[in-house]
């Protein structure tokens, strides 16, 4: 993957379309989206709910397959990946943060973070060190032994963030990470994401409906409306 030419975008979509069948009706969640994400870029995807933002993220993260069009990773079509390569892509290249945190309720914060490492085949001393580091990065060392039910929403999202970056993935996909949080907590989480982006050079694609926040943080903002790319502009535009 690193052999790709430097001018080539890290992630690109070409005519990306995703349709869902809902009984007799076909719902088009994403229609003909073409988009380039450069390595190290912070891209915000704006849109109201139902505009296809999450679908876009799922497609970028290899969780879902497009009906038409393609997702290119370093120029290689994700559709040509074998099922195992796709798993490895999810495991090593992508880190996911969701609106509803999606922590495993029976595991402590630290165990949740380590879970991602387990699937990557890293555990024992190395796993603990990486998990500790990720938890320190999100500032939750004092809450590491708590279960999700004992944590506030903001704390849970920070655990989820630690889990997403524990393996220092080059790509962080954040799906409305502040959607369930009050504005003060939201700011904390967002500034953490920004810090990770800056410190680790992580490419971030963040979906949000808060265009003020998007404009403030992102290098570039794109807007989705009814599954189509509506406009594209530089941050602050």
């Amino acid at each position: 993957m690193d052999t790709a030419p430097l001018h080539e975008p890290f992630i690109a979509t070409r005519g990306l379309t995703r349709e869902y069948r809902m009984g007799p009706a076909v719902v088009r969640a994403l229609a003909d989206v073409s988009l380039n994400v450069q390595r190290g870029e912070f891209l915000a995807v704006l849109g109201v709910s139902g505009s296809g933002k999450s679908t876009l993220l799922h497609l970028l993260g290899g969780l879902d397959s497009p009906t038409a069009g393609s997702v290119l990773v370093n120029g290689r079509d994700l559709a040509t990946f074998t099922s195992y390569e796709r798993t490895v892509y999810r495991r090593t290249v992508v880190g996911f943060v969701f609106q509803s945190y999606y922590l495993v309720p029976s595991l402590t914060a630290e165990e949740n973070v380590a879970l991602a490492l387990t699937f990557q085949g890293r555990f024992g001393r190395e796993g603990r060190r990486l998990a500790d580091e990720a938890i320190r990065r999100v500032g939750l060392v004092h809450r590491a032994g708590h279960r999700p039910s004992q944590l506030s929403g903001g704390e849970q999202q920070r655990v989820a963030l630690a889990r997403a970056i524990v393996h220092t993935p080059p790509l962080l996909l954040a799906d409305e990470p502040t959607g369930n949080l009050d504005s003060a907590t939201a700011r904390e989480v967002v500034s953490l994401i920004q810090q990770i982006h800056r410190d680790l050079g992580t490419t971030v694609v963040m979906v949000t409906h808060d265009h003020e926040m998007a404009g403030r943080l992102a290098d570039r903002v794109v807007r989705l409306r009814d599954g189509r790319l509506a406009e594209e502009g530089a941050a602050g535009a």
């Binding site: 993260g61 969780l63 879902d64 999606y102 879970l115 387990t118 990557q120």
Partner: protein
Amino acid sequence: MRTWRIILLAIGSLRRTPLRVGLTALGVAIGSSALVSMVAFALGVQRQAETPFRALGLVNVIRVSPKRDKDAGRGPALDDAALQRIEALPGVEAAYPDFRVRGLKIALGDKTTTAVAIGLPRDVPLPGTAGDLLVAGEYFTPGTRPEIILGTQVARDLGLDTPQGAIGATLRLETSGLAPAEAAKTFTFERKDLAVTVVGVYDLPNLMAGKMSGAVLLPVDLMRQIPGVESGSLLDRLKLGADPTQPGYPEVTVRVRRHTDVAPVDKAIQAMGFRTRTLLSRLEDMRTFFLFMDVLLAAVGAVALLVAGLGIINTLLISVLERYQEIGICKAIGASDGDVFVLFLTEAGAIGLIGGLCGLALGRAVCWGLEAAINSYARAEGITAYLEVFAFPLWLVTATVLFSAGISVLAGVCPAVRAARTDPIRALRRE
């Protein structure tokens, strides 16, 4: 290593629903305990039935006789030369003529009794665990000393009240019979008294008691001195249709070292041109019956375990539904389909293993209780020997645990496949 980690993860997640996991494992435990106790019963009964044969070493015995005339051609003579050839076969412990005298008169002072005398070789010890049957004294000593071993019944009949007290007593054997003269053309009636020393007393377990404790054992060389013993079975020989003028013994006992030697030695002796009979072959018939019994009882137990398997399927399917979202999360953070499959299959296997081990303990406890009950009933009926109704050989223990784990893993396949195929998007979307 990575898979091992995932297995540990699966075992950890069993703790989340202890009641449900416990009940499911209990189902497996009941199933496997049914299986193990049923088979243990079948094995126990079989062992109980075979023990007497084994104890007397009868399993390792081949009886050899000359071919009858009506068989294809007349076979070679079963004489001392033939005995030597048989004794030289690999695996053979001893070969000796099967001397047996019925109604042998035994006297001690003014007390007399009659008994069956059985000839046994001096130079080889008693077969199997038969040596344990000696309650006093020793087996015959090598040499030619006139010795006798008494059954407890005979000892009592002679007024020797304790087995220990009988050792060293000198008895008089009053023998008589038709001894051959002039190369077996004519016979003369002979009487002969033999003085013998008691060297041992044997007793038989209650179950096999009866006639046998009314017998005495004599060394083969001593038996030869009893007039007519070598020709005494002339009538038997005629009855069998054999040539009465043929030299040699009507029947010879061949003892082999191990029961696995029976078949090859049997074959070799047949190849020499003799007829053979083995108890093992009759025991095989009995075993076929027991095999049927084993299979039947195992089937009943297996049905119980299969029902428990359905319980596992049910439990895990519910678990898959409950953890639908969690499966989605795991996939989103890098779990492969295979990882999820292993995760759920391990849970099934662990439930099975726990259930199997508990079932084993449960089965063992139940059998122990039943055995105690059966024995107290047996004692009330006057049977003093302890009856081991159940047998738990190591293979049964291992097989039970492996079988319950196996069934459980099998039951886990369907839920595990379902979990592995979960679409992460749909799983994540469900709130």
